[in-house]
């Protein structure tokens, strides 16, 4: 069969990928720069074709709790937002993680803090990878750098979420959400039947037909029992750290200078790397695809012979902390970032790299 190739925005690709994954529900609240997700879904009317539920909620707080419920019913459900909306969702995300429910969350980051700006940013790295909400939990965090990855990570995110019964987040920046690129859409899959769902998710609350009742809760007032629950969660996170690290390495073998960047910044850094190599500088690029679990080993390996690491982010320097930990502060690791919606050019990045390390 011929592949379905289209030109579209990253946010639109998310919506199409959801429908084609066989999603059961989407709950969202408008916010720039990700409103196209809800708009595209409403225009596509998947409730007519696949039976997927699409609902504009009254707030991000309501939306994330709808996702909590849908995930509790074993459904493939999703919400998307941008930074301020994501902040509002944090209590709900903690509940989803604590109740061990599979859900897909999408943050198309904009500049902050506060109401900030609608321009792109990567300053929610800490929020996504270090918790964000309360308590000891983790989010599988996927960072797409192209419209194709926006599309592909919908399926990957849900697959991982169901595999580990844990929320997964697509942490995109406004650039990836807004830019238009060629994308190959996946083959449509049908939604799971009621029987398939009951078999795959025997823990789901769907009514206790032919089984004992299910209870979804994150509450346990007995301290020793609560510690066991926490330990089990941590054991699961360890399994994810061991099995689900993903990254892309370009020219990192024996590189003298290593750039580490994710999302749209990795695209710009790739260009900077090419310019550098034309000038005879041995520069490599490592792009974390999973921000959690973090590709620490791959970075440590790529930086073995490096004189310096440059971490480029649209923030004041967040991922750099994980990069420093990855190399145990044994390699000179510096940060270059722009904020407020400003985006550096490849020349700018190369200039910074030369000034910091080459001179």
């Amino acid at each position: 069969m011929e592949s379905d190739i289209r030109l579209m925005k990253g946010n639109e690709a998310l919506a199409h990928a959801m429908i084609r994954y066989g999603a059961d529900g989407y709950f969202g609240y408008p916010i720039t720069p990700q409103s196209e997700v809800l708009e595209t879904l409403e225009a596509e009317m998947p409730w007519e074709s696949t039976g997927m539920v699409v609902l504009q909620a009254e707030s991000e707080v309501a939306a994330v709790n709808m996702v909590y419920a849908g995930a509790g019913a074993g459904k493939a459900v999703c919400t998307s937002s941008s930074s301020p909306g994501m902040s509002l969702m944090q209590e709900g995300i903690s509940f989803i993680a604590a109740a061990e429910l599979p859900a897909l969350l999408i943050n198309c980051m904009r500049g902050g803090p506060g109401l900030g700006t609608i321009q792109p940013s990567q300053a929610d790295y800490f929020q996504a990878t270090k918790g964000g909400g309360h308590g000891d939990y983790r989010l599988i965090t996927l960072a797409p750098s192209s419209v194709q990855e926006m599309c592909d990570f919908v399926a990957l995110g849900w697959d991982l979420a169901f595999k580990y019964r844990t929320p997964a987040m697509i942490l995109a920046d406004g650039t990836v959400g807004q830019m238009m690129e060629k994308v190959i859409l996946p083959e449509p899959r049908r939604r799971r039947t009621e029987e398939e769902l009951r078999e795959q998710c025997p823990w789901a609350v769907t009514g206790k037909k032919n089984r004992k009742r299910n209870i979804i809760t994150s509450l346990e007032l007995n301290a020793p029992a609560m510690e066991v629950i926490n330990n089990n969660l941590q054991a699961k996170y360890k399994r994810i750290e061991e099995n689900e690290v993903r990254c892309e390495a370009l020219n990192t073998e024996d590189c003298e200078y290593l750039i580490v960047a994710f999302g749209s910044m990795a695209r710009i850094c790739e260009k900077a790397m090419e310019l550098a190599r034309k000038q005879g500088l041995n520069v490599g690029l490592l792009r974390p695809i999973t921000l959690w679990p973090f590709p620490a080993k791959a970075i440590e390996q790529a930086a073995r012979k490096a004189k310096g690491i440059l971490v480029v982010e649209l923030s004041a320097g967040q991922m750099i902390e994980d990069v420093k930990l990855a190399v145990n502060c044994q390699v000179d690791t510096r940060h270059y970032g722009r904020m407020g919606g400003m985006i550096p050019t490849p020349d700018e990045i190369l200039g910074v790299l030369k000034e910091m390390f080459v001179k």
Binding site: G25, N65, M66, A69, G72, V77, R213, N214, I216, T217
Partner: protein, 255 residues
């Protein structure tokens, strides 16, 4: 009539029994609290409707957080105030399920007012059981949005004052004027007669939601004898004398 012990325990002489859906778990509610009575009614109704295999209850944050320990159906515990959002998604994704929320006044009328009003305004086919005891029972008796003027709580130790604390929030009329609601009623469980009426009301709310009529809310004007610092009997008197004046019983909307 002088019946012998052996006759009394014969199955055909049974006039009342514990609903089969009430579990054997010891209830954590204070003796005299309205929560326990309402739980029993819900268990009876689900059993009578034959819906035990299709019902999912949404428990709140509040004294009823552990409702899931007592009624033998599927349950999901919601974050404080968010039960209507949870119920919305459950019902939309599985329309054949009977979905109800069980919420206190702090949960429904303070932190969750937005979710309550919007779920009802969308006409979600869910039933909302609203336990209005005019206080935050679980956290130790603080002021609730429904606390009466003059009423002493741990955060209004000299009595609630309108100028300092605002007025009691009266939810039922607010809910009744929304186009999405089909049934809004106030009931109580302080006498056997009241309990029977409350049961009929909850049953109607459950039936409405299965018939796709929209949102139903059954407010139970309740007691919290621990929070009110009264005996259970005194609480019932105080309920009639004070609570019913601000929250009179009866249907506000029945379509």
């Amino acid at each position: 009539m002088n019946m012998k012990q052996e006759d009394i325990i014969k199955p055909e002489n049974c006039v009342y029994r514990k609903p089969s859906l009430l579990t054997d778990e010891n209830m954590h509610y204070c003796p005299g609290c309205s929560h326990g009575v309402v739980h029993k009614l819900i268990a009876e109704i689900i059993e009578e409707m034959g819906m035990e295999d299709k019902t999912v209850g949404v428990s709140p944050v509040g004294c009823a957080v552990f409702a899931y320990n007592y009624i033998d159906i599927d349950w999901i515990q919601a974050a404080h105030g968010r039960a209507p959002s949870v119920a919305t998604a459950l019902k939309r994704l599985n329309p054949e399920n009977l979905i109800f929320t069980y919420q206190g006044d702090g949960d429904l009328a303070a932190i969750g007012t937005c979710e309550t009003i919007h779920a009802a305004n969308r006409g979600e086919n869910i039933a909302i059981i609203f336990i209005n005891n005019a206080i935050y029972g679980m956290t130790g008796g603080q002021m609730a949005p429904t606390t009466l003027l003059g009423m002493k709580t741990s955060t209004t130790p000299y009595g609630r004052r309108a100028d300092l604390n605002g007025h009691p929030l009266v939810m039922a009329p607010l809910m009744a004027q929304l186009d999405g609601t089909c049934y809004v009623t106030r009931q109580s469980v302080h006498t056997p007669a009241a309990v029977r009426k409350a049961k009929a009301a909850i049953r109607k709310a459950f039936e409405n939601s299965m018939a796709g009529k929209g949102t139903s809310m059954v407010e139970i004007v309740s007691t919290c004898n621990s929070g009110w610092k009264l005996t259970p009997a005194q609480s019932n008197e105080w309920l009639v004398e004070n609570m019913f004046k601000k929250y009179p019983l009866g249907d506000l909307k029945n379509e």
